[in-house]
């Protein structure tokens, strides 16, 4: 059975793109101490708005940009509820998810007059990297992806730089570690939280754009299908370490690509489809096991 072909790894990179973008973005919220479970909802909005605005403006870049802005604005609603109004982040995130599911259907109808989905006239190009394209192994692996995929790789060095090499990143980390200390140092904790959530929202919007504009050229209802939750699991496992979040998200993408590949071998599709969802469960269990072995004798049920 030749499963481990080059095209599997190549499709891993494609499939992992929205997971990586959303997870790396979600990491920013984690950095400021916000339990941001809205990744799924924002991604859904992002996938919708990028198609909608592309249709309305006729320009794919404008479409994606406006989608990002729209997601920032919508996510700000959630930010206000959680940061300023002291809402429970999990409950309010579930509310946001409902809002996203209902809102996308409603806006699809209201903005575009359609139901069920919409085709995009434009799609993201597959970019051929000039030098690499010709290379034997690296060529098919690394070349020919959408710009969002390349952007997702960029998030790792970029975000590491932002977090550890800039005063902004220092302030963000301070807010997450100990808000009182950050406030005492004159950092505007509230503003930092809003900023971080906005960055998360923009990244999730891009993730959604990759789904609709990058892969299928269309938007369909509920097309995110839990990807945002999987990305969230990557953030939970990687915590605030960018490399770890990146790798876990990539791994989850691999699982999803593998599932797709295995379908070609006649294994029942419904069962295979559960694999990408089982994996985060196993990963969380293992991470809990690891923490457990370090607990050295403490008795209480392990905290989250």
């Amino acid at each position: 059975m030749d499963i481990l072909t080059l095209s599997l790894f190549s499709s891993t990179l494609v499939v992992a793109t929205p997971l990586i973008l959303a997870a790396m973005g979600g990491m920013f919220s984690h950095q400021v101490g916000v339990f941001n479970f809205t990744l799924e909802g924002v991604m859904l909005f992002g996938s919708f708005f990028s198609v909608a605005f592309t249709i309305l403006t006729g320009n794919i870049w404008l479409g994606i940009l406006l989608a990002g802005l729209a997601c920032i604005v919508l996510s700000a609603m959630w930010s206000w509820v959680v940061v300023d109004m002291g809402a429970d982040p999990i409950i309010s995130a579930l509310g946001f998810m409902l809002l996203a599911q209902g809102g996308t259907i409603f806006l699809l109808n209201a903005m575009l007059g359609q139901t069920g989905g919409a085709f995009s006239p434009l799609q993201l190009d597959f970019i051929r990297l000039p030098f690499i394209d010709g290379l034997p192994v690296l060529g098919p692996l690394l070349s020919g992806h959408t710009i969002l995929t390349y952007l997702s790789w960029l998030t790792l060095p970029l975000f590491v730089f932002i977090l550890y090499g800039t005063p902004f990143g220092l302030a963000l980390r301070a807010v997450g570690e100990k808000p009182e200390a950050a406030a005492a140092a004159g950092i505007n904790v509230r503003l930092m939280r809003y900023c971080a959530i906005a960055i998360t929202a923009f990244c999730c919007a891009l993730a959604g754009a990759q789904l609709s504009l990058g892969l299928l050229g269309m938007y369909t209802d509920n097309m995110t299908a839990g990807r945002g939750i999987i990305a969230f699991a990557a953030v939970v496992f990687g915590r605030h370490r960018p490399l770890q979040v990146f790798l876990v998200a990539l791994f989850f993408g691999f699982a999803a690509a593998l599932t797709d590949r295995l379908q070609g071998f006649g294994l029942p599709s419904e069962l295979l489809n559960t694999l990408p969802y089982l994996l985060p469960v196993i990963v969380l269990a293992l991470s809990g096991w690891r923490l457990l072995s370090r607990r050295n004798g403490m008795q209480a049920p392990p905290p989250l």
């Binding site: 409950i91 998810m97 939750i229 069962l271 089982l278």
Partner: protein, 365 residues
């Protein structure tokens, strides 16, 4: 006594004495949240050029304006009340059963399985099917409960992931072994035995004895949670797990108990839907009871018996929603928007304090 300004969290509510004051306090936030949600939906309705009054009138008409409407409302109230109770029981232990829908789904599978594989007399068959569905749901909830208890894995993520797994397993089994050969378009199982069907006692529509079961479960669960020893220990575990553990309470066992009971009730919902409404297992039969359960629980303010009025309220929204779509062409999704915004607002604790402060300033000291 002070509100914690930096780290958030609800400040202690001023002690309310007297039944009316306490009732007002518990209904305050859901009321404000509902009004806020209605405000948003009104704006949206106006933006698409329809009249909000028409919409809301259609809503009420659809839900309460006819026998069919009332039957619809009661039909939805049945699972919604139970879902709210299931979520609230999880809340009491400090757990979020985000994967309620997965437990419902498996409950539906097992319930319908028991409906068409075994043979029992008419009174017993539905009961066994529903209880069997409950067991399936309880078992499905056991997995995230154990992972949480022993490995500290977030039950929110694990139960949610297992939802998709439940769908995969159930759909696969039905497609492989129990498929109804006459239906090409939908994936559904063969019909359950006639003895297994949960009959409706209402003249129109489908309202079964399950409605009374739901209400009874809510009342009994409320009573048990408040008055029984197990209920006390569950509540304390949820209120402060470290303190409960230090006091010698078996917090791990109580966590698992609460989560599994939650799953059991969810499984019952799935089974009742399958043998009562659909009379078979239908893929994707769950129209989002998981989310609805959360909303009912939130509106009930953590009060188990409060899930009864809250469930009925949401049922009105649901029943009315179909009418809105039918007569006015306004998508049902507007109800989801309403639900989502209510959740957003009702979870904003400090909003209550700010609004109270606003009132105090107006009326003077």
């Amino acid at each position: 006594m002070s509100a914690d300004a930096t780290t958030g969290g609800p400040a202690a509510a001023p002690p309310a004495n007297g039944f009316v004051a306490r009732a007002w306090q518990s209904i305050q936030m859901p009321l404000i949240a509902t009004l806020a949600g209605l405000l948003l939906t009104t704006v949206l309705i106006l933006s698409i050029g329809k009249s909000p009054l028409d919409v809301y009138a259609a809503l009420l008409r659809g839900a309460l304006g006819s026998v069919f409407g009332i039957s619809s409302t009661l039909r939805w109230a049945t699972p919604l009340i139970l879902a709210g109770v299931a979520v609230t029981i999880g809340f009491k232990a400090g757990l979020f059963n985000a994967g309620l829908s997965g437990q419902i789904y498996l409950g539906g599978l097992v319930g319908s399985l028991l409906g068409f594989t075994i043979d029992l007399p008419a009174g017993l068959h539905p009961a066994v099917a529903i209880l069997g569905g409950g067991v399936a749901g309880g078992f499905w909830a056991l997995i995230p409960a154990l992972l949480r208890r022993y490995l500290g894995a977030s039950e929110i993520v694990t139960s949610l992931m297992l939802w998709y797994v439940a769908i995969g397993i159930s759909d696969f089994l039905v497609r492989q072994f129990f498929r109804d050969p006459t239906s090409a378009a939908f994936l559904m199982s063969v019909k359950v035995a006639p003895d297994a069907v949960l009959p409706s006692f209402f003249p129109v529509g489908n309202v079964s004895v399950m409605l009374f079961v739901s209400i009874a479960v809510a009342i009994v669960a409320h009573y048990l949670m408040q008055r029984s020893r197990l209920g006390y220990e569950v509540r304390l575990t949820g209120a402060n797990p470290l303190y409960a553990f230090y006091s010698g309470l078996p917090t791990g066992r109580r966590l698992i108990l609460a989560f599994c009971v939650s799953g059991f009730l969810a499984g019952m919902i799935g089974a009742a839907e399958s043998i009562g409404i659909n009379q078979r297992f239908v893929s994707q039969f769950d129209p989002g009871f998981g989310f609805d359960g959360f909303l009912v629980a939130l509106l009930a303010g953590g009060n188990i018996a409060g899930c009864i009025p809250a469930g009925i309220f949401l049922a009105i929204l649901k029943a009315g929603g179909t009418e809105i779509e039918r007569t006015l062409g306004v998508s049902k999704s507007i109800i989801w928007i309403l639900q989502g915004s209510i959740i957003l607002v009702v979870s904003a604790y400090r909003l209550r304090d700010q609004i109270n402060a606003l009132f105090k300033r107006r009326t003077g000291p």
